[in-house]
Amino acid sequence: MPEVVTFYLLAGIAVVASALVIGQRNPMYSVMFLIVAFAALAGLYIQLDAPFVAVAQIIIYAGAIMVLFLFVVMLLNAPQEDGAEWDRTHPLRRAGIGRFGAMLAGVLILELAYALMKVNGLGAAVGSQANATTVSSVREMGKVLFSRHAFAFEATSVLILVAMVGAVVLARREGES
């Protein structure tokens, strides 16, 4: 069963890389591991007969957004987190906040477990295996995106535009033209 092997391989890479993203002291390494996680996800999409989604994942996330991340990390030249300093003085290390964070994580795990138990027919939600190729074709996807989901699509584009304008306004200092 080659599919099962590749699935567990890619899923394993994705999970391990994601864990390493938050485990790094150096932000540059975090960015690199996030790219690895995205690449593994793209592999999973290919396995699901959705090459277009996989390529879009690489172009948008691994290609564009992560380059921007890298750019920001380099531009700010963020220093490595100093281990000892962090442990002693950072406000996030105080006991009350730590407990609150642990509680939130626990709630999230419970929610996820509940949701996974409720979903027993995952195939029904995704659509049957037979029309997987038609669903994943660029033409069909474009049709659905611009007819049934047209409003959501346009609303998203306006939202992104607003965020972009907002970023420019915030970044521009007072008095500059």
Binding site: V55, A56, A62, V67, L68, F71, M74
Partner: protein, 343 residues
């Protein structure tokens, strides 16, 4: 082993071999053409007319000492050139470079020349070339040197900016051809209009072709857009701290990227391997393809040795305020015309 599998492996090996040699030949071609333009001979001593110069260059680079600055990041410093060259090779995987051929009757069933033919091939090329920027950015950061860092920063800003115009000009071609597969795009360009004009997309997309070439030059960091390694300002830019084989991989990636960019331009705009019917009948369509790619590569080198480098703010202003709007207008006009003529 299955025979078709073996043939496919052979084609993959052949493509790899050609790309490696393309980078060596391009170094020689660059120096020869530069010499010609500056009214001198260029490399002349190694082999007849200096033809073996690339071999000597490679040997020299292999023999050199491999240095790593003390303050450099150990892992990323090593990873960066590997990433660069891997992305350069991988990008060619979905680029077809010839029609069907039986190799002069050697095979029973004709094979298609090209590593892989998948239905989103064009997007795969774009996705992988956009990953190539990581090699340069990481090299700039990991060297822990101011010049390298500036080179890396410039590379990322430049590539993000020109990728937009590049992708938008590709979208216009996709609209016209109605397919994301490079082989299908090429096959829509077979034949002629009125019996003498070849059905190449460059005649329908002249503006798109120019945008593609300009953005392609910027994407491959070639002059007049070679800011990541502007030697007057940055010593050598992102590869200042590199030496020996690690250094050699960066120019190699650059030359392979040039070859990929030219091959994609040929497939998209210049009719791919169509154009010389006589060669088609002998199954030599790939010769037509190589001739076209060679012509574009010559233009690349020609540009480098005749045009001065821009200023950095001019580059950014040109990319965002002129090239990108122009490509969007080109896309909208193309879409409107396609709708009008298809309806």
């Amino acid at each position: 082993m299955d025979l078709r599998f073996g043939i496919q492996l052979g084609i993959i090996g052949l493509t790899f071999f050609m790309l490696i040699n393309a980078s060596a030949l391009l170094v020689l071609a660059e120096r020869k053409i530069m010499g010609f333009m500056q009214q001198r001979y260029g490399p002349y001593l190694v082999g007849p007319h200096g033809l073996l110069q690339p071999l000597a260059d490679i040997l020299k680079l292999l023999m050199k000492e491999e240095l790593r600055p003390k303050g450099a990041d150990k892992w990323l410093f090593t990873l960066a050139p590997i990433l660069s060259v891997t992305a350069a090779f991988a990008a060619f995987a979905t680029v077809p470079w010839g029609g069907e051929t039986t190799f002069f009757g050697l095979l029973d069933t004709p094979v298609k020349l090209g590593v892989a033919d998948i239905n989103v091939g064009l997007l795969v090329v774009f996705a992988i070339t956009s990953m190539g920027v990581y090699g340069i950015v990481l090299a700039g950061w990991a060297s822990n040197s101011k010049y390298s860092l500036m080179g890396g920063l410039r590379a990322s800003a430049q590539m993000i900016s020109y990728e937009l115009a590049y992708a938008t000009s590709l979208a216009a071609v996709i609209l016209l051809a109605g397919s994301l597969s490079l082989r299908e795009v090429v096959d829509t360009q077979a034949g002629t209009w009125f019996g003498f004009i070849p059905r190449w997309l460059v005649f329908l997309q002249p503006v798109g072709f120019i945008i593609y070439v300009i953005a392609g030059v910027a994407e491959t960091n070639r002059a007049p857009f070679d800011f990541p390694e502007a030697e007057q300002e940055l010593v050598a830019g992102y590869n200042t701290e590199y030496s020996s084989v690690r250094f050699a991989l960066f120019p190699q990636a650059e030359y392979i990227n040039m070859a990929t960019m030219s091959a994609v331009a040929t497939d998209l705009y210049l009719g791919g391997w169509h154009g010389i019917p006589l060669l088609d009948t002998y199954g030599l369509s790939w010769v037509t393809f190589l001739l076209k790619v060679g012509a574009i590569l010559f233009t690349y080198i020609w540009m480098r040795w005749t045009l001065p480098r821009y200023r950095y703010d001019q580059l950014m202003a040109f990319g965002w305020k002129f090239l990108f709007p122009l490509s969007v207008i080109n896309l909208i006009v193309t879409a409107a015309l396609v709708l009008y003529f298809n309806a």
